[in-house]
Symmetry: C2
């Protein structure tokens, strides 16, 4: 299994306008592309992937969305389609337990620490940071990892401290600074070369 | 310089509804993601990149859009923003010469052969196909390449014949079948490792 978590510092926690993902929805476009690149291959969805979105924007943070590749039934890779499914999840009244909104998509009120508490029982936690260890020297050692990435703002100091308290490794994927969804493509690529 | 061309077999050749990129606009979402992944890094645009979109959908094919990274001024990486700029280009009455619609974005009535005739004077032409040579064995040899990719339908036989008549190489980027934008991320990644 492979899992990916993005921390959306501005991503809103209520239903939003699908025509304004990059503005009013708090850069929800970044999270949508992250989901697309984590889940989709040509003409299909990776069944061995889970995606986690931590939404920390107004008005009711934190909310966490979980998307399970093996359970998702109706998703297309375009931003608007994925945003529509996130929007439906945000209509669900939720608490600390996962509640399913549509097939394979769940929402809860978990924050970063609660989420990592849960996921560190199933995954090694790997933090993606620009000055981390080169993925090529690390990739042979990874199996059942949760990769943690920041959005366009990166991780705040207190978020980083939480992640580091769980982290089994700090990894970098490129000599230049990339967007979160691009990092996900590269992680998949390096792992696929090992396992395919 | 790096250049990327995608052949959009269904991408419409008239202004389209921004709320229906994946449907009525003929999978324009694929072309938008392609542009985003070719041009954007974290907090910026690659100045050494050109992107070409060959639109072959109704009602007035072919039309080709050229996007020059060093000249683009107002572009964000979300699909809707890029689609809006493509839509503006499609409002321009065009012929075989390039006409600028917004900063760094040009449109013409060039078809595949005309386009490759022009670009093969400046670039080596590299065709991306699943059974091509592994990018890792090829990447050290590439410089000033135009990478040619298909959309979700791939290249038709007659398109492939045209591309192969210009091609300096056939390359594959992954052991599994990926989307065009994901291939672009991987191409950049492998090239960045050589040059950064």
């Amino acid at each position: 299994m492979r899992a990916f978590l993005i921390i959306g510092n501005k991503a809103v926690t209520k239903p939003f306008n699908l025509n304004d993902l990059a503005g009013g929805a708090g850069r929800m476009d970044i999270l949508c592309r992250f989901v697309a690149q984590a889940l989709f291959v040509s003409h299909g969805i990776r069944k061995d992937v889970e995606v986690y979105l931590l939404l920390l924007g107004k008005p009711d943070p934190p909310k966490t969305i979980k998307i399970v590749g093996s359970e998702v039934k109706t998703m297309a890779p375009d931003e608007r389609n994925i945003a529509g499914l996130i929007r439906r999840a945000l209509k669900v009244k939720c608490d600390k337990d996962w509640k399913e909104s549509t097939s394979g998509i769940y929402i809860s009120k978990k924050g970063l620490k609660d989420l990592l508490d849960e996921l560190s029982k199933r995954y090694k936690i790997v933090y993606l940071r620009e000055n981390g260890n080169d993925i090529r020297s690390f990739v042979g050692k990874v199996d059942d990892c949760l990769f943690v990435l920041g959005d366009h703002l990166g991780l705040k100091r207190e978020q980083e401290e939480v992640v580091l308290s769980f982290a089994d490794g700090i990894v970098s994927v490129s000599p230049i600074s990339l967007q979160a969804d691009q990092c996900v493509v590269i992680l998949h690529y390096e792992l696929d070369r090992l396992t395919s």
